[in-house]
Amino acid sequence: MLCESCGKQPATVHLTDIVNKKKHELHLCEECARKKELIPATSTGVPLNLEALISLIMVPAGVQETDTSSLVCPTCGLSYAAFRAQGRLGCPDDYEAFRPALLPLLERIHRNVVHQGKTPRHATWRESRIAELDQLRTELAAAIAAEQFEEAARIRDRIRHKETADEPR
């Protein structure tokens, strides 16, 4: 059996955890187990890092753990928790801001997460997105010049969200 993390070395560290009657197994090589701080660097009798072990084993491979309830949309200020309470999103940018939490939700509702069908025939929406990015970059420069760094960081996050939304998938 090969290590589930690097896929190269043989797995020598085997972890089994049972939570709520569900069995989770993890098989790692020694090097990866050390990297994930499951084993202390030197064997000085320090016990296993139990917290790191549990968080690792509870998160399926390849999925980044995100605390969805703390997600907040930088554009409209809606939190994911507030969305869950009301059932309505605040603005179009929420789809990017809440992406990690929305994906499983969309999958449950629609059994799919990629649009098929009509797309706007006119390019107005694309042009407007480019114009909006330009606008945000101008605002960012102004905020930095005015040394309003908190505001600058907020604008930077919005730009990042918008840019990732533009990448083809």
């Binding site: 809606l78 179009p92 969309l106 509702i109 799919n112 069908g117 107005t124």
Partner: protein
């Protein structure tokens, strides 16, 4: 615009004609659209909603949507007029009674095309047609959508499609609903079975007035649930397939009724017509139930011919707001029941409707 001018005519979709009109009353398509760079309606300020409303009204005047539309601001309408628009299927109950601030609806003369503004989404496009007419309705709504989109930047996302306030509508933003009259499946107690089968394939069944409304008069709306990951044409094809199946079941059940209990059905229809044309007090629920029996009787030729559109119209005209407008005054519950009975008596006498 004085809504009373709409009173004498009823929407095209109630004509009672069109393909499969023995079972299918009407077809409705809805598209949810939002304008980019604005918060969704629930988080928009009054100022933003007013901006959206005035921009969209401008666009209504600029572009050719295939038919001229007139805009009615709903915020300032008296409650009776709002209810009237709900009964006409031109606005949702939410737009009429729950939401606040600038909002309204544009619709054409035939009441076939309508666009709600500042509903849950900025724009809710709707096309209503008589009978089963999914493709025809799609052609119309597609054109309205293109027209609006030529002037308005929609909130659209490469992966998620048309972005909507509720993730249950994202993607195509399309809900296709077919209103069917299924009395025979009700009588033969097969209706539950049919609906359970529909739920398994992700179709939703609702009453006459949409979400949360109770099915009365054996009228049901069957619509798609999934909007993301299936193209419009595929969604329409799936609904068409299911409707074909339901049509077959309902017609089989009707034939079964004729074979096994013709006399009893004839009696039931005759009594329904009798009650409708002689009662002096009648509730809306009872009216719906009896009209359902009459509609079935007509389709099975158990009563003398009554024009199909009349029965469809009576379903709408005997609703509270229509009745009060027809009578020209506000009426409380009991007065309404008396007025409804009077209205039905007169209508049916005019037609000279008699049991066979």
């Amino acid at each position: 615009m004085n809504l009373d001018s709409l009173l004498p005519n009823l929407g095209e979709w109630l004509k009672g004609t069109g393909p499969e009109s023995d079972v299918v009353v009407s077809t409705r398509l809805r598209l949810a659209r939002n304008i980019a760079h604005y918060p969704f309606t629930s988080r928009a300020t009054l100022h933003q909603k007013a901006e959206i409303e005035s921009r969209v009204r401008e666009v209504f005047n600029q572009v050719d949507l295939g038919c001229p539309v007139q805009y009615v601001p709903v915020a300032n309408l008296p409650p009776l007029d709002r209810q009237f628009l709900v009964e006409r299927q031109l606005v949702s109950r939410e737009l009429a009674n729950v939401l606040e601030g600038p909002r309204g609806v544009a619709f054409d003369e035939r009441e076939s095309v309508s666009v709600m503004v500042n509903e849950e989404d900025h724009l809710r496009l709707q096309v209503l047609r008589s009978g089963l007419a999914l493709e025809e309705a799609w052609t119309v709504i597609d054109r309205v959508d293109d027209g609006l989109e030529s002037k308005l930047a929609y909130a659209f996302h490469e992966q998620f499609g048309y972005l909507t306030a509720c993730p249950t509508n994202v993607g195509t933003g399309m809900r296709a609903s077919v209103m069917v009259h299924l009395p025979a499946l009700g009588i033969t107690k097969q209706i539950e079975k049919v609906f359970r089968a529909l739920q398994k394939i992700n179709l939703v069944v609702r009453g006459l007035y949409g979400e949360g409304s109770r099915a009365s008069g054996d009228l049901y709306q069957i619509s798609n649930q999934v909007t993301l990951g299936k193209s419009e044409s595929r969604i329409l094809a799936e609904i068409r397939e299911v409707i074909a199946m339901i049509l077959q079941y309902e017609r089989q059940a009707r034939q079964l009724l004729l074979r096994e209990r013709r006399q009893a059905e004839q009696d039931r229809v005759a009594r329904a017509l009798g009650t409708l044309s002689s009662a002096t007090m009648i509730t809306s629920e009872e009216t719906m139930e009896l009209l359902s029996a009459v509609r079935l009787g007509m389709n099975l030729h158990l009563v003398e011919e009554i024009p199909a559109n009349i029965v469809n119209q009576l379903f709408i005209q005997t609703q509270a707001a229509h009745l009060q407008k027809l009578m020209g005054m506000p009426l409380d519950g009991e007065e309404r029941n008396a007025a409804r009975a009077r209205f039905l008596r007169n209508k049916l006498r005019e037609l000279g409707a008699n049991p066979r």
